[in-house]
Symmetry: C2
Subunit: 555 residues, 2 copies
């Protein structure tokens, strides 16, 4: 039944693309050095050419693959949790005259279409996490470009608060994807250039078509970087700017004890079961089995095994595994089990202490894991059954689902319950809560639902618009089975496109623009023979004497 | 040099896809009947099966091809210009039990990828013109669904102000593209369902996956239609609602004399020259050669040959010709010639009288033609040379361009000049003026530039950020030649994606969501083997006993 179209284009990789793990820690980093100096952390890229995830490419010139980016995501996360004293982060490189050459082209060229798309999604999420840390954790980022930053290298810089470029007569910033590879910069570059840095659109057009990029004074005038700094003064200016940015941070003064993030080697609050026949993964999330911490200090004491931290990290990890290693899975069924009162108790703890530096990191972690769910290209169905605990932060799973089914059986009662985290602290990429997005037609109902006392039974939940369907005991099994079978019979591509359009109603943000507009165009281009065909630009990159041949028809 | 990848998938049509003409008039309509009854017009779809643009498909069940949609676009335009007395338009069908089955599947299945994409773009522009007429011309639209409206049929209804569905036990609204064809509804359906009609996202998910759609009471409860009306009362309710909507219109009372739109058989204010070697089309737009009308009454007297009407209609027509019939053209060079003072004089006339019903139609026409330019997937370069007249509404061509070049030669002066139409009345799809979009970084400069007295010479224009480059006489020819050659050497797909991301910085609207997010996903899907491959769902549609085979990997 399965046939793989990419094979015709020679793009099915021979090596497995499965990712061994999304867990790492500084002592295991291969490609980054993380150094701390009081309120400033220094995150230096030093990619090891031969230590890529696959062996069919070499990571030259600080180019990266997914493994490099997993370390970057981990480093940012750890600075947030483990180092409350850090107020500014300098991102730079240990290579001479090169900051970062971007995603490795040979890796991209030899990757399957789904891998390319998922790789770009992960790197986008990592850059958005940097911006989230700046906006919500008071952690300011400086890109200290000690050499050329091209493609994904410049896109990493674009995610930082400030960009300093060394002015040595040769180092430039560039987005050479269009002229060299026939694809788009895949990590938010075009969007951030015109929407975040507000580079004038005609200058952005020119910039995005010259492979050598722009340097020095012109890069500053065009708003591509904030400063071009002579080599002799570079380190001093970087240090000064880091200090200035640190001064604007609202991270706690004098706090040095952080929470060490222990590796997730097993899953305690999340169970996953694969059903290949229905191409379905069932996830069960468990309520906490212990009372909520009495105080942020106690949470710190408990460490990263505390439910509020660990449950979200496990969800995050499971989603990445599903996306990258289980491409054939089309539907994710979201289930919960445990005591809803416990969930709400933990939520209240988070809500009450959200101004504490550690608790706001917890909240940001929960928010990002749920955003990762919204952005996962799998159908999401939530099943509300007896014994479930869809309350508060776990109710967000129902609200994130493309559809939800709630059993309506007086003998086996089910319930949903709202809590303080449903009212805004866990926004989607569009800036609205899932409840607001759901109730765009009747915004006043959001308030009504939030002020409802106690749990919602099936009938109330249906009337309030919280669930899609409430089959009774007789219909339950059949209705679910049919829904799952029908979903499995539909075109996986059409579902991905459909879900991407229905999930994000309402306002658009930089974030939704990157995942909606930019990524969709990139996915289109990643599929086009002009990029990935036998004579496509991406395929032929680096092959001496070979020039791409284009189907010249404009589409 | 050219190779055509689509051929491998068996999707290169044998019949030519060139469109004979975008000009029509009611006496030549084949597929629509336009009837007037005082303040209500009735536009009835009655598609002739055998009169499609190509002969390899039959337009059964009021399904449509581009020819049908060209007539619809013309009808809406003519009601606006020729029938000031009309305040409400009823869109219905003359077929029994069927409103419209949407775009013809066999036409889509046998069309090339660029044709599919351009077809969808045109139909989207036509539906947006309906919404524009409602918002800006006081012309209200009722979709009177006398039978089932599926796919593009329902999407046409979604563009109307109100949707009335006959409640006869069988007629439904549906978006069956995902379940039946493995593609998305291509004419704004998903966006309008959740963003315009604000259907709850889980209900929208269910609705978009059931081929048979939703009817009767449920369709109303889910906000898919406004009323479900029993057959016996249908005509009466339609008439009542038309009357009620007409009462909300601000079109002139007692005005019955409109402006007949004469066919564009030759072009007087626009010259087009194709250069196949550089894959370039040069457009020259000419300034008016006569004074502006003294009053709206005089404009009415002059008829559609008046510059303010004819120049925009010619631009619109040329853009459609370029998009559909000259796929190999990658770059459009925008030039002007004539007296800039004349342009500004005509602009002032439009600006001063924009509250007059006819002049506001003129302005809306100019706006739509310029939006069509923004949305054209060709590189736009503007060349400002001696003798040009980039002033006011024609300056918008420079502001719409991806890049602009202005000659800086004291012996052969060039100039740009702003006028009243640059300050807002000609917005882009994102709701901002082209000047605002260009100056997102420094919004206060928009006002400065607008208040500048007299023309901008090259140096001033460069300093004000109105043009990209100002080469001198020595560099001019070389710099332009190199820019054109370089552009012609880049991947046409990458350029389309890049331009679509750089042109629309700033806010997103329903309109930009449709062209950015929705269309990009649709283009991706239109390229995927799961839709268009040998065993793809679109390819196999209607072939008895054939079921699509999917690559099940989720991307």
């Amino acid at each position: 039944m399965q046939y793989v179209a990419g094979m015709a284009l020679g793009h099915e990789p021979t090596a497995s693309e499965a990712v061994p793990s999304f867990q790492t820690s500084p002592d295991r980093y291969r490609h980054w050095k993380l150094r701390f100096d009081g309120e400033v952390a220094r995150l230096s890229m030093d990619v090891q050419e031969e230590e890529g995830l696959r062996k069919d490419y070499a990571l030259k010139l600080n180019s990266y693959d997914l493994g490099v980016d997993v370390e970057l995501a981990d480093a940012v996360q750890r600075i947030r949790f483990e180092h409350p004293e850090v107020r500014a982060v300098v991102i730079t490189s240990l290579k001479d005259r090169i900051f970062c050459a971007g995603a490795n082209i040979f890796m991209l060229g030899s990757s399957s279409h789904p891998f390319k798309v998922n790789f770009c999604k992960f790197t986008n999420e990592t850059r958005l996490a940097i911006e989230d840390a700046s906006q919500h954790s008071g952690l300011k980022f400086i890109a200290a470009l000690n050499g050329t930053a091209s493609g994904g290298g410049y896109e990493l810089a674009l995610a930082c608060d400030e960009i300093l470029l060394i002015d040595d007569g040769s180092s430039a910033v560039s987005l050479p994807e269009v002229p060299l590879l026939g694809v788009l910069p895949g990590t938010g570059g075009l969007t951030r250039v015109v929407d975040k840095r507000k580079v004038r659109r005609d200058l952005a057009d020119f910039f995005s078509t010259v492979a050598e990029g722009v340097k020095g004074k012109r890069a500053v005038e065009w708003r591509l970087v904030d400063q071009a700094v002579p080599k002799s003064k570079f380190e001093q200016v970087v240090a000064d700017r880091a200090k200035a940015l640190a001064a604007r941070s609202d991270r706690p003064k004098g706090e040095t004890r952080g929470m060490t993030l222990q590796p997730i080697t097993d899953r305690r609050f999340l169970k996953m079961k694969l059903n290949p026949q229905l191409r379905m993964a069932e996830l069960w999330m468990r309520a906490p089995d212990a009372p909520a911490p009495a105080s942020p200090a106690q949470l710190l004491e408990q460490g990263s095994d505390a439910w509020v931290v660990r449950a979200s990290r496990e969800l995050d990890d499971a989603l990445l595994e599903l996306r990258m290693n289980h491409l054939d899975i089309g539907t994710v069924v979201l289930r919960t089990e445990g005591d809803p009162a416990r969930v709400l108790e933990h939520d209240r703890f988070v809500s009450q202490h959200q101004d504490h530096w550690l608790v706001r990191e917890v909240l940001a972690l929960q928010k990002r894991a749920l955003k990762r769910l919204d952005l996962t290209s799998k159908t999401l169905f939530a099943f509300v059954e007896p014994g479930s605990c869809f309350a508060g932060s776990l109710l967000e799973l129902v609200l994130a689902a493309d559809r939800s089914y709630m059993l309506d059986d007086p003998k086996r009662p089910t319930a949903l319950q709202l809590g303080p985290l449903n009212g805004g602290p866990l926004p989607m990429s569009n800036g609205l809560s899932r409840l607001q997005t759901r109730m765009l037609a009747e915004p006043q109902r959001v308030k009504e639902v939030l002020s409802h006392q106690g749990p919602f039974g099936p009938e109330e939940a249906l009337a309030a618009g919280l669930v899609t369907f409430t089959p009774d005991d007789l219909d339950w099994d059949d209705e679910l089975r049919i829904a799952l079978e029908e979903r499995a019979s539909l075109s996986p591509d059409a579902l991905t496109g459909m879900e991407n359009n229905l999930r994000f109603a309402g306002p658009e943000t930089l974030e939704t623009k990157i995942f909606g507009r930019l990524s969709a165009w990139q996915n289109w281009i990643f599929q086009r023979p002009n990029a990935v065909g036998e004579r496509g630009a991406l395929t032929l990159y680096g092959q001496a004497g070979q020039r791409p041949q284009f189907d010249v028809r404009r589409t």
